[in-house]
Structure formats: C-alpha cells, structure tokens
C-alpha cells in the first residue's frame, strides 16, 4: 500500500501536507523559543540548555533534541522530494504555454516553488550559522545563543538573508496551510473561511515573531 500511495500524485500531495504540518508545528515552537531573547541572556541561554535536558531523567542528555532533529530532517526531505517530483509532473503536463497570457492566482500561490527553494537554502545557512557555527561571524560559542544571535544580526547580510527567508516563509505558510487542509480532505465550503483565516493568521504570526529578533538587535533592544 505504501508503494501505491507514493506512486500516486495524491499520495505525494499527502506526504507534502503531513510533512508541512510537522514543520509548521515545529516553527511555532521555535518562534516562541526565539522570543525569549527579549528577556535577557540568562533566560535564552538557560532555554538552550533545557532543550538538551528535556525528556530527562528518562531520556539521556540531547536525546529528545536529536529525536526532534531526526523528525525534522525526515520531514524536510519528504517535503522537498515530493515537491520536486510533483513539480516535474506539473511542468511535463503543460509543455506549451498560451500565446495570450493572463495574470493568474495569488502571489503566495505562484511563489510556492521559488519560495520553497529559498527556504531550503536558508535552512542550510541557518544551521551552519547558528547550530554548527561554521559560517558564523565572530566567535561562535556553543550554548550561548544570546551572543551568537547578536553577532549574526550585527551583519547586514545576516539580516537580509534572514528577513527575506522569513517573508518567504509567511507566503509559503499562507497558501500551504490551506492547501494541506484541502489535500487531507478536511476543507469544505462551510469551513473555508476558518481555514483561510487560520492559515493567514499563522503566516502573519510566524513572520512577525521571527522578524522581531533581527529587528530587536538592529534597534538595540537586544544588545
């Protein structure tokens, strides 16, 4: 049955929807965690430490964190693979364009593919910057996110990359959340307004919540 689901275009869409929701839930938690930076270095550095001890004493140090990381990697790979394969199918299905072109669909809908690519590249940079410290400007210190974040957002390119990616995320979620609901068959005429509102609200909330951090550093609120 797994085979038939993956071979079907509807199955791949289902994979996209489920993996998208997994990532969306993570992003909400991630955004809430980020906001701790506004309460000082103690608060956020302690939070970073807690992320490694959560699930204890049942789970060993960092086990829960690695579990989250594994789930996320699986979700990202599943989401990107199905997106790539579905896009290939879509482009093959409409090889010749109309001579008379009409502007169509919303901005968020039209930018799902490019937005997704931007987000994929951003994730690579983001991990190399603030998780491994490989491309971090200044001296990266493990478990000291407060100073690390300030270092990143003290560079112009750090701010540009981050804000562009977060705006792309907002558009992606705005169309993606509602679309996932349709793919999973929970949409309907009566529920449509609620689903659209929740999708847009999530998009706005995530964009504002994430953008708050670089803006906080730029304005000197966090220093």
């Amino acid at each position: 049955m797994t085979r038939t689901i993956w071979d079907s275009s509807l199955g791949k869409k289902t994979v996209m929807a489920v993996s998208g929701i997994v990532m969306l839930l993570y992003l909400v938690a991630h955004m809430i965690g980020n906001l701790k930076i506004f309460f000082g270095p103690e608060e956020i550095n302690h939070y970073a430490h807690w992320l490694r001890t959560m699930g204890g004493p049942v789970l060993h140090y960092e086990w829960a964190l690695w579990l989250v990381r594994i789930v996320l990697v699986v979700a990202v790979v599943a989401h990107a693979t199905s997106a790539y394969q579905l896009s290939r199918r879509d482009i093959r299905a409409r090889p010749s364009k109309y001579v008379h072109k009409k502007p169509s669909a919303s901005y968020a809908t039209r930018t799902m593919r490019w937005g997704g690519i931007i987000l994929g590249l951003f994730i690579v940079w983001h991990i190399l910057d603030l998780t491994t410290g490989t491309v971090h400007p200044g001296g990266y210190e493990h478990l000291h996110p407060y100073q690390n974040i300030i270092d990143t957002f003290s560079t112009w390119y750090g701010n540009v990359i981050y804000i562009v990616a977060v705006v792309a995320l907002g558009f992606h979620v705005q169309h993606g959340f509602w679309s996932a609901a349709q793919t999973l068959g929970v949409g309907s005429r009566s529920r449509d307004r609620v689903l659209k509102t929740v999708g847009t609200a999530l998009a706005v909330l995530l964009t504002l919540g994430f953008v708050a951090v670089p803006v906080g550093v730029m304005t000197g609120l966090v220093s």
Partner: protein
C-alpha cells in the same frame, strides 16, 4: 462588428503550429462565438483556403464538445461554454486570440481540435455503476437523502469539456475526475465500487500524464458548469478513505 482574429493554425498533430491573423466583418452582436467562426470559415472556403477546424456539437451548452481558449480564458470571458458565448461580450474593433486547450494529455489533432480521449479512459476506469440491465427500477425503492442528492447533482453537472485542464497551470484533470467520482460515490447506487472507483480513476488520471493540483483555483473559475474547487477536497478525502479501507 469588425474583428481581428488571431487563430492557432496547425495542419496535424506532428506539424508545427502558429497564430494566423484574419479579419472578419459584418458580425452581429447576437451571433454566438461559433457562428462568428462559421462566418470566417465560409469566407476561407470561398477563397479556397483551409477552414479553421474546431470542435462543436449541440451548441446549447450541454454536450461538452466545444472548447477554445479565448483571450487566455477557457470558453472565453463569460462563465459558460464557447457555444453559449455571444459576440455582445466583445467590442467592435477588438482583437481576439483563439487557441486550443493546452495540456500534454490533450494533444492537438488539427488547429483548435484536441484529443480528449484521456477523459474517456478515466471514465472507463471507474466512472460507472454496476447495475443489472433491463427496465429502470422503481425510483422510490432506493432512498437518497436530499443533501446527498444535491451534492451528487452538483457534480453530475460536469459535461467533461476539459476547460479545467486547459485553465490549470499544471494541466491537471483533478476537477473533472473529482466531479465524476463525487457524483457516484455519494449515492447508494455507486456504493459497491466506492473504493475501487476513486483509486482506479485517480491512477488512470496519473497515467494519462495530467499534472497535480496546486490549488490555484483556476479550474473552478473556468468551469462553465460551476463545479466547486471543494470537489477536489472531497475526492482527496475519498481517496484517503479508500486507501485505509483497502489496507484493512
């Protein structure tokens, strides 16, 4: 009315096509779009040129034979079929672009005529019910709740013209397939094949090379019969349900 028409001309499936420009004069506002094309073709025949090939049959908006992408819109600017579109929707002196449905699953046969047999094969995969032949059974013996009957009828309105595929940026046949599945799956008469219908028709749709749904909503906007976008949501729900049932 005097009009400039830019029409897609293509000798056959293998030939390269291109837009050709024609001038037509003496068009009445009360003519249908197809009558306007008939006028053009009469002139072309008199001049000894090859008339423009286009599909049409009932010319009353119920058969689904007519097609044409007019100024970038499947079936033109009004929410109806091309045969029910009238020239009063255009202005004197307008330039009108006329193109065939575009999708790799709908190859051009000639000019504006495309091969839509992919739809027939999707229907053959499950768009039917198992019923003994003979006299029609007593209608009252199978009760159908009113909301279900309305739902079935809304989807049964699909005439299979393919405007949804033509309008979709992915050349997807989701709206057509979902209309046909929902129409039968909600009714007691369609219940015996409820799972195989959705699984087989979706598989056939994929095999025909149609694209996937990215929920742009273009299909539902173009549909001359007003099949709602939620039709696709209902199909997705049926497909997921069928996969769970078959696995059991």
């Amino acid at each position: 009315m005097k009009l400039t028409l830019r029409v897609w001309r293509q000798k056959n499936a293998d030939a390269e096509g291109a837009m050709s420009t024609y001038e037509v004069d003496g068009i009445s506002q009360d003519m249908s779009f197809l009558e306007m094309l008939d006028t053009l073709n009469e002139e072309l025949i008199v001049k000894g040129e090859d008339p423009v090939a286009f599909d049409h049959d009932c010319r009353e908006g119920i058969c689904g034979a007519c097609s044409l992408v007019i100024n970038g819109d499947a079936h033109g600017p009004e929410r109806t079929t091309t045969c029910q579109l009238h020239m009063r929707s255009f202005q004197d002196g307008d330039t009108i672009d006329i193109e065939p449905w575009r999708a790799s699953a709908f190859p051009v046969i000639k000019d504006l005529v495309v091969d839509r047999t992919a739809f027939d094969r999707i229907i053959q995969a499950g768009g039917y019910i198992t019923a003994p032949t003979g006299a029609a059974p007593e209608a009252h013996s199978t009760p159908v709740p009113k909301p279900d009957a309305d739902f079935a009828f809304e989807h049964a309105e699909c005439i299979g013209c393919g405007a949804c595929v033509a309008a979709c940026p992915n050349g997807a046949a989701m709206l057509f397939t979902s209309a046909k599945i929902n129409h039968l799956n909600v009714l007691p008469q369609g219940a015996p094949e409820r799972e195989t219908r959705v699984l087989d028709m979706v598989a056939q749709m994929d095999d025909e090379g149609f694209g996937g749904c990215t929920l742009t909503g273009e299909c539902a906007t173009a549909c001359p019969k007003g099949i709602p976008l939620f039709s696709i949501t209902s199909m997705n729900k049926e497909w997921l349900r069928a996969n769970r049932k078959v696995a059991r």
